[in-house]
Assembly symmetry: C2
Homo-oligomer: 459 residues x 2
């Protein structure tokens, strides 16, 4: 509580941008001095009983010897589950009311840390529910413009040479509420959580294609799933073979039913719909088949009446996950701002963070290793002074592409895009510490709060 | 079936060591020619219906349109589970018969791929069961030789600056059946699976210690868990702070009960017992307290009657996970040998593989990114000619340390070590394709098959 002046000096020394952003290296081992620790104190103090430690030790019997130290704990298990105290860390399903197997469930990005999404929380996007496929009865057919059309059993595929790759998968429709005229009020993960990141292991597509020997005319790959929707889509062969794999494992174990068991396509950096789950067929063709998923869907009407089609690459994007919408900062003090950045075009090279609504920016620390087409965790310390603040993050990838402000994106694309919303997200911290989603352009004031229209949004 | 001679030529061209080991780059995009694909054919052929594709298409109704394409699938879920067809991919519990909360459960390494262990399958080592801790009632006390002894609530710790790190945790007693006089018959994971690898996220220990301000006399850290065993151990302060963290998240989500919920120590590269789960207390001291876990346990009697103590670092180790014990190769042909390597002293720099019992060796491909103190997946193609073969892998780390042959380890350490068994593992493939665990020294022939003695092994 003393030397308030010292703390202010310390803050000034480390300040790197307006409204309290501090040098990203503050908490790294080399940069951590006593000043930093002292600054942390007020944040912790409120609920920490440090100064009364002796008193608590004597009077609080639970703390001295909590009940779980008095009786033997639970026995060993063959497959574990999260703690009962974490039951709110779940996917948020948004099914179509009329067709409950059609819709999405959102990854709770705002409740997670690091870069790997646990398998139980990977987002879902299905068109007619999750098939429970018996792998002994499943076949993959590769045919069309190939010399050796072939069926492959799952057991045989499991013996093929494999490769592993940590990468994200993002639905092209992720964050689509951003097109709403008023900012949606959902938690960050239930607005942006149609993206997850896993270590995928499988067979390089090039290896399988060598087996069937494509003819020179083959330029497209038509992928089809074995779900009750018979989901299909056309993929440029060159894009698919660049880094694509037939994935069988996710984060070490076999892929789960809702993620495509027994096998799916993983095409790093390409929009989620192309990463066909429950894959049963790859047909090589000369031209795309113009299926539903590349015509009525995943095609974006522009302001001039033309449409963007085959917008396959996921562009650079970032998101502050904490603090984020509907969280509460209990008191002014030192906080860590953290979030995720990713790009379908390669590595993230920079994430800039602003605490003053975009007037000034500072570089966040990027968690190593920074991997191409994978989640990149960023972090930067911030002192909240108790006044209104607007937090933003802005990602840049190795191609030099910079995540756009919302205003810029809406101007370029208009309002009928639905897909590929990747604008900078603004979180407002008000004087009470309440965090909410805001737009920093004029629209905010003229419209009522938006909601996800689950009947029309996912069909 | 034709040009058998061509295949043999191809094999000769790519051979890099005795008994069928091929160049590790064979399956990489740049090295893949038609020859490689042709060689794969016989392995796949047996059960693949490629040549009868048309016939199958017409007659096998399940294949043309399997049942799960006829009815809507399962709806969205808030937290997913593995496929019902993967119910054998489980941890294998080995509890003490008298005290069921004391023992281990093994990660099924032989059934997994990639490098990340899913949270549900991370190995367990408990002394009196798994406490189910209410995080609101849990406190971490840091005291002893510090200027500001402090309690920390979990909620407060969650606001501290964090870092993420992919690293393994290995029980010092992993692979201890290797000390048996006869080779144990378990599957690879149920022999070596007290090691798992996760992305851990938490607070660097240095940050927390800055808060309590250790005195100059503080040289050791006594860590204590909140389980019914009150598990404790002494850790050199310098070792703990080098890379140690107070972990709160594992693979993105909060740590699970059996892995230390709500918080645990993660000390990359140090033996598992030091990574104290359910952490409730860190006491800074001048000397170790000589607790059970650094005296009667985790101390290794040597042949000369002296004992190794405080053998904290995990030394380099590797293991072929496929093919491995109790698997069956259905017919001669091309296979991928794959496995895991790790070292507590840094990065793995090389994994050599032998298919002729150690006479000749070839470098396996290491999956990128190769991370310090993390699982490194290795792979190399191999043509099995149908005769008896002995497969081995040998890891080298960045310090130049080379994984020893079993003979060498036993000579140096004797038979009373129990801990830190890291010798090269030998898998024999017999003429029928059956894979079994063997020793390649004389002991094999003179003794009966070993088993894990679960009553005395874990206490």
């Amino acid at each position: 509580m003393s030397n308030r002046q010292d703390k202010r000096t310390e803050l000034t020394l480390h300040a790197v941008a307006g409204n309290g952003l501090l040098d990203r290296r503050l908490f790294l081992k080399s940069g951590l001095g006593l000043g930093a620790a002292a600054m942390l104190t007020p944040v912790i103090k409120e609920s920490k009983a440090a100064s009364e430690s002796a008193a608590i030790d004597a009077t609080d019997i639970d703390l001295a010897s909590p009940p779980w130290m008095h009786t033997p704990g639970e026995g060993f298990s063959t497959y574990g589950s999260p703690s009962e105290y974490e039951s709110d860390v779940v996917r948020f399903p948004s099914p179509n009311r009329a067709v409950p197997g059609n819709g999405v469930s959102w990854t709770p990005l705002h409740l997670l840390e690091g870069t790997i999404t646990p398998n139980g929380l990977h987002f879902e996007r299905h068109h007619n529910g999750v098939p429970h496929i018996n792998p002994l009865q499943h076949r993959l057919l590769i045919h069309g413009l190939v010399k050796n059309p072939s069926f492959f059993k799952v057991d045989d595929l499991l013996r093929y040479p494999m490769t592993s790759r940590i990468c994200f998968v993002e639905c092209g429709g992720n964050s689509n509420a951003g097109w709403n005229k008023a900012p949606i009020r959902s938690e960050a993960g239930y607005f942006h959580g149609l993206v997850s990141c896993s270590e995928w292991t499988g067979i390089p597509l090039t290896v399988l294609l060598e087996e069937v020997v494509p003819t020179n005319k083959a330029k497209w790959l038509i992928a089809e799933g074995a779900d009750a929707f018979a989901m299909n889509i056309s993929i440029p062969l060159e894009k698919a073979t660049a880094e694509g794999m037939l994935a069988l494992y996710q984060n070490g174990e076999r892929i789960r039913p809702e993620n495509g068991y027994p096998l799916r396509l993983i095409l790093p950096g390409l929009e989620g719909v192309m990463n066909v789950k429950w894959l049963r067929r790859l047909k090589l063709t000369e031209v795309p088949i113009m299926a539903r998923n590349e015509t009525s869907r995943y095609t974006e009407l522009l302001p001039d009446g033309k449409a963007r089609m085959f917008t396959l690459d996921i562009e650079a994007k970032s998101l502050i996950t904490s603090p984020s919408a509907n969280m509460l900062l209990r008191q002014p003090g030192l906080y860590q701002i953290t979030g995720l950045a990713w790009s379908g075009r390669g590595r993230i090279t920079q994430v800039a963070v602003s605490a003053d609504g975009g007037k000034s920016w500072a570089d966040a620390e990027l968690q190593e290793p920074v991997l191409s087409k994978a989640f990149t965790r960023f972090r930067i310390p911030w002192v909240w002074d108790g006044k209104r603040a607007i937090l933003k993050s802005r990602a840049t990838d190795e191609t030099g592409y910079v995540q756009p402000e919302r205003r810029q994106l809406v101007t370029e694309r208009g309002r009928h895009g639905f897909f590929h919303y990747n604008a900078i997200v603004s979180w407002q911290v008000d004087e009470l510490g309440a965090v909410s989603h805001v737009y920093d352009d004029e629209e905010t004031t003229t419209d009522s709060p938006g909601t996800i229209d689950i009947d029309t949004g996912w069909d």
